[in-house]
Symmetry: C2
DNA sequence: TAACTACAATATCATTTGTCATATTTCTAA
DNA sequence: TTAGAAATATGACAAATGATATTGTAGTTA
């Protein structure tokens, strides 16, 4: 739960936002509530500045009042809180299709940072442009409110995770959650996904030491639950993983995952 | 983290909402953002049904879609998630002046319950009446958004609590948080407050067993940090408690506590 | 008052998880 | 291609926390 550095963002400009990237957010919203064509194209037409950002880089600093909203296009980022002791708690994972922080601005300063875990492709959307789109397209605004509610449900589940569950259960639960969330945006197959983060990152997410994360992964490997090599996670026995995690699909309010997971 | 029962609410009607109770919410909002007289009286004029509710009683059930908002007037309640194993995680404490759940309704069903911990005095506000007040009084609506942001900041701090801090640190942090929040509504003195909950409740809040809560309290007693007798908590050494907790006042965004706590 | 109940206090023992140390492997950059 | 850095793997041990059992205490009900 320690031993990481803080690095300034090096933004490498990238010329063109392609169709694949542009529609990640739309795909995600569509899993929560069917989106009319007009709302989808309103979102697609939001002008963005796209950037490639390296791993372990701050996208937003604690104390910032960001004037742009960041749309994740590829890679893993996280909301983090750093402790005076050097410990770090990850508050949320930001996956492709996720926005941060659309609701900042009411209170002056962020009380957490947003850091990339892997290399990421992100888009910067002007807060004003987004606000005006949401005013003109109420269905889109509603969809973003649903996203917010989903995020809150995930946060609650994370508190249950660290408060009530064993290391193995926590890990299993997180892996199930990531499967469903990544499937919703087309970043996972039926039985696996790219998981380009470190065991330390997992530990800071689950409230475990990196050593214990490693131990827990070994147990999972030995039990033929998952395989994790070269940043690629393969789930070998999803139904058993779900039982261990006591994972209930419902809290995500998404139509993803229903074909492979029990309710 | 187990051994509790679920009880149906027995609502004892109480005839009259008095001035003291009526203004708990207003007092709380005023600590976040100064409230104009017109907004205060708009809130004061919301008609409510007031009830006395016993301890260990469900105010809202998981799966409900509540059509009333509950305003806490006195006592302690909590948002709870129950696990299949029988464990319970408390997600948030609801104190006098707190509302639950003003934002429900977008998504169909609650994924948690709201239970009283102590005997409580609560007021039921019609969701429609509240919505119409908020439409007519935008400053009040803004104040409630700030409340929401404060609640989210508290949730983040709770995740840090269980994820990063030792039992002693967790407990110290929670006791500091409760001091500030209760002071904001006039339910705490400079050095103490009524804490009418059990050690089991504390454990379910902090992700600890009731036995370990007891152990931790003994350490605090032995170190002359706090005294807790007869449901009354007395803080003997606030500054040391704050240091142990690494408690930063800022995240609550309230004007309460500044006179007795370091920044 | 007596009996009952919930809560608190505490001892003992078991288990989980953290810490430290050290290889080993993989990745990265010169 | 190689040297160095970062990440992973693993063992040994320590510390924190959980589980169980027992007793005490205060409040409640009959």
């Amino acid at each position: 739960m320690s031993g990481f550095k803080r690095v300034e963002p090096i933004r490498i400009p990238v010329p063109q936002l392609n169709q694949h990237h542009r529609h990640v957010l739309i795909r995600k919203l569509d899993r929560l509530i069917p989106l009319a064509e007009i709302d989808a194209s309103a979102l697609a037409n939001l002008s963005v500045g796209m950037r490639q950002v390296g791993p372990r880089t701050d996208l937003l600093h604690e104390g910032d009042t960001p004037d742009e909203v960041i749309l994740m296009l590829d890679g893993f980022a996280a909301r983090c809180k750093f402790q005076p002791t050097g410990k770090r708690q990850i508050l949320a994972h930001l996956l492709p299709g996720d926005l941060c922080e659309p609701d900042a601005g009411y209170l002056s300063r962020l009380d957490f940072s947003v850091c990339t875990l892997s290399a990421c492709m992100v888009a910067f959307i002007s807060r004003r442009a987004l606000a005006s789109t949401l005013e003109r397209y109420p269905a889109t605004a509603h969809a973003l409110r649903l996203v917010k509610l989903q995020e809150e449900a995930i946060s609650r589940e994370w508190l249950v995770n660290v408060g009530c569950r064993s290391a193995l259960e926590r890990m299993a639960h997180l892996l199930c959650e990531l499967l469903v969330r990544l499937q919703a945006v087309g970043f996972a197959t039926r039985d696996g996904y790219g998981l380009p983060i470190t065991q330390q990152d997992l530990g800071d997410t689950l409230g475990l030491s990196n050593v214990h994360v490693n131990r827990t992964l070994k147990v999972m490997r030995d039990q033929n639950l998952v395989e994790w090599r070269g940043r690629q996670l393969k789930i070998l026995d999803l139904s058993r993983l779900q039982v261990i995690a006591a994972f209930k699909l419902g809290y995500l309010h998404s139509t993803a995952g229903h074909d492979i997971l029990a309710q």
